[in-house]
């Protein structure tokens, strides 16, 4: 194990702590605005994890779509609906039930993944972007097109839903 791999691991853990902390804050805070900002921090940290996992392209896409897109969308929704201002959010509801269930699920998933015999870390390819591009326009072309169609459909659907009825 080289020194640089060590540092990489360290960074991975650091980003992981940021991510987990952001996620926890996002679900725990009573202010919806802060929850969304925490989500943004969480997503950025996850983008860092992607970078460390040799997925540069995904990391940038994560920032592009998630932070620059979805978080902004959520902020818009928050501001247009003014929820959280006129109606301050209720405190966490039934925390015991949530904690129990999420503990069982999380522990189960963790136990399942750790008891599975995972291979040791393989090296990422050198030109991940190139390989990704080839995969998207080659073997995965149909799924890629399908995603486009789904996106278009959801955009239209969202437009139709949000549009105000004519009086």
């Amino acid at each position: 194990m080289t020194e640089s791999q060590n540092i990489e691991q360290l960074l991975f853990v650091a980003f992981g702590i940021v991510a987990a902390g952001g996620a926890l804050f996002a679900v725990a805070t009573r202010s919806l605005l802060r929850s969304i900002i925490a989500l943004g921090a969480f997503l950025t940290a996850v983008a860092g994890e992607f970078y460390l996992l040799a997925a540069d392209f995904l990391a940038v896409v994560q920032i592009f779509v998630y932070v620059g897109g979805i978080v902004v969308l959520m902020l818009f929704a928050l501001m247009l609906s003014a929820s959280g201002v006129r109606h301050p959010m209720a405190a966490i509801d039934r925390p015991a039930l949530g904690a129990a269930l999420s503990y069982v699920i999380g522990a189960g998933v963790l136990w399942g993944s750790l008891t599975t015999d995972l291979p040791s870390v393989g090296a990422g390819t050198d030109d991940a972007v190139d390989a990704l591009g080839r995969a998207l326009l080659g073997s995965q072309l149909w799924s890629f097109e399908l995603i486009g169609v789904i996106l278009l459909a959801s955009v239209i659907t969202a437009l139709v839903i949000v549009r105000r009825e004519r009086r």
Binding site: R94, L136, I150
Partner: protein
Amino acid sequence: MTTAAVTLSSVLFAIGVFGVLTRRNAISLLVSVEIMMNAAIINLVAFSRLYEPEAMTGQVFALFGIGIAACEAAIGLALVLAVYRRFGSTDVDTIDLLKG
């Protein structure tokens, strides 16, 4: 690092589940769902590196996951706005009628 990745992903997933079960605001629910989604995507990326670094299947899947998340957010938030207009609140517990 694989262990770290699956651990992180499990923890994040559990946090997301907790949020979904305990929050009452529709936007908060979406936030929690996005957290769960990211937990899954982290696994995809990590395993993509483990199993078939050349085929990129995991990364492609992760990319699709992000795309689907965008769709989900668009429609979900549109619904939130529509619900807000009708009920004056985005609290999911106020929406307990099948017919608005």
